[in-house]
């Protein structure tokens, strides 16, 4: 079946604008993760959704970042008042709860000018 789909693939925005990134996980995957990957660096955990449980937001870097998930489907990551340091690739991954592997999308490359 289809893999994890992320949109847009690229986003250029001006500093101070809000952006919304979308993730469509694999159907049936109840666990969903957002990671940030700065240029040449590793994956930084942002947030984790597991079914109807309260999300683990411990990785969100500031209150400008928020994420929502509708049931066990689409998730959106919103960054308000974007800053240049928010420029990165934002990766979404999904999995069956308590199982591996993580299936990653191809990411959204965000550039804040």
């Amino acid at each position: 079946g289809a893999g994890v789909s992320q949109s847009p693939s690229n986003k250029v925005t001006e500093k101070g604008k809000d952006v919304e990134l979308r993730c469509d996980p694999i159907s049936g995957h109840t666990a969903l993760y957002w990671y940030r990957q700065r240029l040449g660096q590793g994956l930084e955990f942002l947030i984790y959704f597991q079914g109807n449980s309260a999300p683990d937001k411990s990785g969100l870097p500031s209150d400008r970042f928020s994420a929502e998930r509708t049931g066990e489907s689409v998730s959106t990551l919103t960054i308000q008042r974007t800053q240049q340091e928010d420029s990165a690739v934002y990766l979404c991954a999904s999995s069956l709860v308590g199982q591996t592997p993580l299936h990653f999308g191809n990411g959204t490359r965000l550039t804040v000018t």
Partner: protein, 112 residues
Amino acid sequence: QQQVKQSPQSLIVQKGGISIINCAYENTAFDYFPWYQQFPGKGPALLIAIRPDVSEKKEGRFTISFNKSAKQFSLHIMDSQPGDSATYFCAASGDNFNKFYFGSGTKLNVKP
């Protein structure tokens, strides 16, 4: 605090050589250690993984060596090929895979 430390940052290997990437962790609660491979413009994909109850796992040309007492694990790529050129990430997870911690990545370049 970085949960998983990875080295080297970059690696150049001749075709046919052995590529070795190392990772270390601190949290003894981790019980699952995967390696992911990432090509430019793509998301990471699972390559191979190991549990701490074994010291080595081999899949084709890829081998994970695990040293529980030292809290270290490594990826060995035998007979490295130009097609293996990618960025490799180690990771660790515990608590029923509720959270994965990734290393900083190693960019591997296999010269033909």
